[in-house]
């Protein structure tokens, strides 16, 4: 009968099973040999002690197992955090309690861009100050023109610097982490919206001739149209990525097809080194097959995101140049000052925000 309920009790004499350790008083099924009365009580005490020891040992083993599992999962979390930190450092984000923004010490691409950008800003501020003085002191047109042309040429410098930085790490440029928080709010494809700047300038540049007003309005409109078109192109890129991800994870994925298309289109950018660098960045951390596919797709996406970003910068450049063609020297000077003031105010706002009192 006993055998039906607990088959092991019949075969096991060692008693090292959970049922037994629970202290079931079924001593008779153990098949114990009982001697005289005093021996019996001593044996029973011993047996009880042994049973309790076994129970304690079992519980200790379970606790140890739980502790080791906890250690394992903490170790995994730690390595994940280390990876995130590494990634953040690569983007030049300084992790500090003051929430201050980017001064990475690791001397890589992103941080060298930050240094170059800071230097450019300083030079820009100097030129604008010079421009302001020239305008308020009613400098001669010829002299003003020289200063204005210099400031415009300097503006073009940043597009070149940005372009190089984008080829190395387009996502850093797109993230806007190299700009202050308030500027980031208005970020579009890694920079400002020319159409918005032009709207601002129309009010600041009065008086404008009828012809100028018409031209500036047209420029504002065409800029907006081009911006919308580029935004849609960017959306299409993200959409195709999403579709590819949905369809390509797993053994039946069409990754090869996607990669083939991209590789063919890639020729126009002509930076094989950059492509390999981006892919390597991801496969280092991924060893499993489908993760490798995912990594490859993502790296291709990041790589191709350079295209709309580059075109957005080109649009900014073209719009600024066109604006200067429409305006007189003095108007251009005032426009450059106004643009600089606008961004200065945004940066001042960011400083206030970053310095806000926190618990």
């Amino acid at each position: 009968m006993m055998a039906e309920f607990s088959p092991r009790t019949d075969t096991s004499t060692d008693g090292d099973t959970d049922d037994k350790a629970m202290g079931f008083n079924n001593g008779q099924s153990h098949g114990l040999v009982v001697s005289d009365a005093s021996d019996k009580s001593r044996d029973q005490k011993t047996l009880r002690r042994l049973a309790q020891n076994r129970e304690a040992a079992r519980k200790s083993r379970l606790r140890k197992k739980a502790y080791v599992q906890q250690l394992e999962s903490s170790r995994m979390k730690l390595s994940q955090l280390e990876q995130e930190l590494q990634r953040a450092r690569q983007q030049g984000i300084f992790i500090s309690s003051s929430g201050e923004q980017s001064q990475s010490t690791s001397g890589n691409g992103a941080s060298s861009f930050h240094v170059e950008y800071a230097r450019w800003l300083e030079e820009q501020n100097r030129r604008i100050t010079e421009l302001r003085e020239a305008v308020s002191s009613h400098a001669a047109d010829g002299e003003l023109r020289v200063i204005v042309d210099g400031a415009v040429a300097h503006y073009e410098d940043i597009f070149r610097i940005k372009g190089d930085a984008a080829k190395a790490d387009v996502f850093h440029i797109l993230s806007g982490m190299w700009k202050t928080p308030a500027e980031r709010c208005f970020l579009w494809l890694g920079g400002f919206r020319s159409s918005e700047l032009l709207k601002l300038l129309i009010t600041q540049l009065e008086p404008l001739t009828e012809q100028q007003l018409l031209a500036i309005n047209n420029l504002q409109q065409t800029s907006q149209q081009a911006e919308d078109a580029l935004s849609q192109g960017m959306d299409a890129l993200q959409q195709s990525l999403a579709e590819t991800l949905a369809g390509s994870i797993g053994p039946s994925g069409n990754v090869a097809n996607y990669m083939g298309q991209m590789a063919m289109a890639m020729g126009k950018l002509g930076t094989l080194e950059g492509f390999i660098r981006q892919v390597r960045l991801y496969i280092i951390t991924h060893t499993r097959d489908w993760l490798w596919q995912l990594a490859t797709i993502l790296s291709l996406f990041f790589f191709f995101t350079v295209l709309p970003t580059a075109e957005a910068d080109n649009l900014r450049q073209q719009t600024l140049q066109q604006m200067h063609r429409i305006l007189t020297t003095r108007q251009s000077a005032r426009a450059l000052i106004a643009i600089n003031d606008y961004f200065s105010r945004l940066r001042a706002l960011s400083s206030l925000w970053l310095a806000r009192p926190r618990e």
């Binding site: 065409t222 800029s223 126009k268 075109e311 649009l315 066109q322």
Partner: protein, 99 residues
């Protein structure tokens, strides 16, 4: 090459694209915003067409924009022309749009 020239002259505005090309999408959008109805030729499956475009001097080959049968340029060229106002002018001249 003849095929490209032939297709390019059939409509006032013709664009050769590829489904995987995001700049093609931008340029198409721009044309639609202007009210033009360009004829779109996707060359995903047509390697010969793409080579023909390259031979014609289109660089990058995709997107290749033709207005009034003449090659106008690729994505960046079109955006530049749009900014200085000449894209609209060319479209009006080719009667792709009227205003």
């Amino acid at each position: 090459m003849d095929r490209v020239t032939h297709l390019a002259s059939k409509k006032a505005a013709v664009i050769f694209t590829k489904s995987s090309c995001c700049m093609c999408h931008s340029i198409k959008t721009l044309f639609y915003e202007l009210g033009a109805s360009p004829e779109i030729h996707e060359v995903d499956q047509d390697a010969d067409m793409e080579k023909a475009l390259q031979r014609l001097g289109c660089n990058p080959a995709i997107p290749a924009v033709f207005i009034g049968g003449k090659y106008v340029g690729s994505a960046r060229d079109v955006i530049s022309l749009h900014v200085d106002g000449s894209l609209k002018q060319k479209l009006i001249e080719a009667k792709a749009i009227w205003f």
